[in-house]
Point group: C2
Chain length 320, copies 2
């Protein structure tokens, strides 16, 4: 599983950082998922190896423009690029209303179906290689986190547990082995509960804007990586009088409290620059987070790419 950051700026783009867009690539094949789609996300994609043909789904964390204004354009460009395959969109229900209004006003007729799933219902969505779960956050508007867990990981059936549950050997065992949840005796049984994994399945949680990281407790169970906004340092957050966002220490302390292996911070206020000589600098955010978190800490850069290996090891991909 790879993460590729297409934008790391909060609210407005800067000369060097775009607004939010995060690509999560499957470990198998070229399939990818786009979490948030701020304006200009399609422009960023042009500078990567990602193709609109292999995009499996777009997931929007919340309705603010810096997270969704790129949606009509990316769909139009996928259409003009010849995409025919249906595309799943997981987003707040009002985004569907807006997209429909946009298509009507701008006479955009997509040659592929949009399979819309409302994140307000906290859906679990299963793709071929990835299962996605949805969790509620706290922001000025409804905001969500999406947890991506790989399916089809190397695993053997937990035969003792299957026998104990009285599940007969046969097709149901096969389905569980392949990572599908099943119905048995009126109960929904999760594949993961009947498998013994060689490695813990890879799991990445990507959160939208949120001022209460603690809400991610359940989402982060068994996750190796959390991607969370850290719009400010604590001091700057107080100065800004901002409502609805997190500062570095708040997120870092949460990650520390759950012993999260790896934390990626992003969505930095546009006033922050990467240069350590600048003031304020993204290094200020790093320092504050380091003081509260002992795991592997990363501060996302536009076009920064990170890989999560089977073993759970997470690291930055060094440029080719």
């Amino acid at each position: 599983m790879n993460l590729l950051f297409l934008g790391t700026s909060a609210g407005v783009p800067t000369k060097t950082r775009n607004v939010t867009g995060i690509a999560l690539r499957e470990s198998k094949g070229k399939g990818w998922y786009l979490v948030d789609c701020g304006e200009g996300t399609q422009h960023q994609v042009l500078h990567t190896k990602l193709s609109f043909h292999s995009l499996k789904a777009i997931l929007i964390t919340h309705v603010h423009g810096d997270h969704c204004y790129g949606l009509p354009g990316i769909l139009a460009s996928a259409a003009m690029g010849g995409r025919k395959a249906p595309l799943t969109i997981v987003a707040p229900a009002s985004i569907k209303t807006w997209l429909e209004a946009t298509c009507e006003v701008t006479q955009l007729c997509l040659p592929f179906a949009l399979e819309f799933i409302a994140s307000d219902d906290l859906p679990s969505v299963e793709f071929e290689n990835i299962a996605v779960e949805t969790f509620s956050l706290s922001h000025r508007v409804a905001s969500y986190a999406y947890a991506f867990t790989e399916r089809k990981v190397d695993a053997v059936l937990d035969v003792a547990k299957l026998a104990q549950k009285g599940i007969p050997r046969g097709p149901l065992w096969g389905q569980l082995k392949q990572g599908f949840d099943i119905e048995f005796a009126g109960e929904r049984l999760k594949s993961h509960d009947y498998l013994i994994f060689k490695n813990t399945p890879r799991k990445v949680v990507i959160a939208g804007d949120n001022d209460q990281p603690d809400l991610l407790n359940e989402a982060c169970a068994e996750a190796q990586v959390l991607v969370h906004e850290a719009t400010y340092t604590e001091e700057m957050a107080q100065k800004a009088g901002d409502v609805g966002h997190s500062y570095a220490k708040l997120v870092a302390a949460f990650a520390e409290s759950i012993k999260l292996p790896s934390l990626v911070l992003t969505h930095f206020s546009p006033r922050y620059q990467f240069s350590s000589h600048a003031s304020p600098s993204i290094e200020d955010i790093r320092k504050e987070a380091e003081g509260a978190y002992s795991g592997s800490l990363f501060l996302a850069r536009d076009f920064g790419e990170y890989t999560l290996e089977k073993t759970g090891h997470f690291s930055e991909v060094v440029g080719e």
Copy 2:
């Protein structure tokens, strides 16, 4: 008057060319007008000296996404940048509906008023230093051209004509002298008709997508410059089977027929590259146009800037 091209690609952005956005800067002060606002236009503006505070109006030629998807984002960024002054938007009426839906769904509350003028009514709009007229074009959807004529040019009153019309010396003369149209004896009199200009007022026509350049006959009267799309060469247009766009020769022949001093072509299909070694190359479009037009021909580049002097001389601004 200066023209600064923020995007020259048709339909979709490329790695080096954005979709349509054209800034027209007043000769006096820093005021500017934005014609079309494809996705990423605000990102392009960041790389210029233009400020959202001095933006006088946004004019949209038609509803297609590559001409308007950047509108919500540019308004949001102007708001976050502290703009308070009202902003005029001249656009097809359905753009107003779409902007309102967008603001509602994405909870965008602008701290400045939008003064919306429907281009469907072919309005004439007078700004302090510029008068704008609207003309209908031919495209798959309603499409418009905007003619920008400078006001307050050095001129003296045509006293003989004023006397002949029976307009009494006094405040009405003053208004006409300052470039304001007046009501007199139940008739609307145009300032321009009662002035003797030292130089012809500068006039630039910027057209939206259009497959019948002849429609611009009236719009181009007394204009020094026409900016028009040339999406293809004639051969490529036939291959593409495209409906609604112009090819180089068609526009060039029209410009030649009206003895237009300067023509700027833009909105090139994304398949065209600037390198003369590429195929197809924008040079192919240039060659085709040169064969049919004997005036000053320019092929717009992203961030290419052009100046129209008082004398009517139009030329590219060479980089600082």
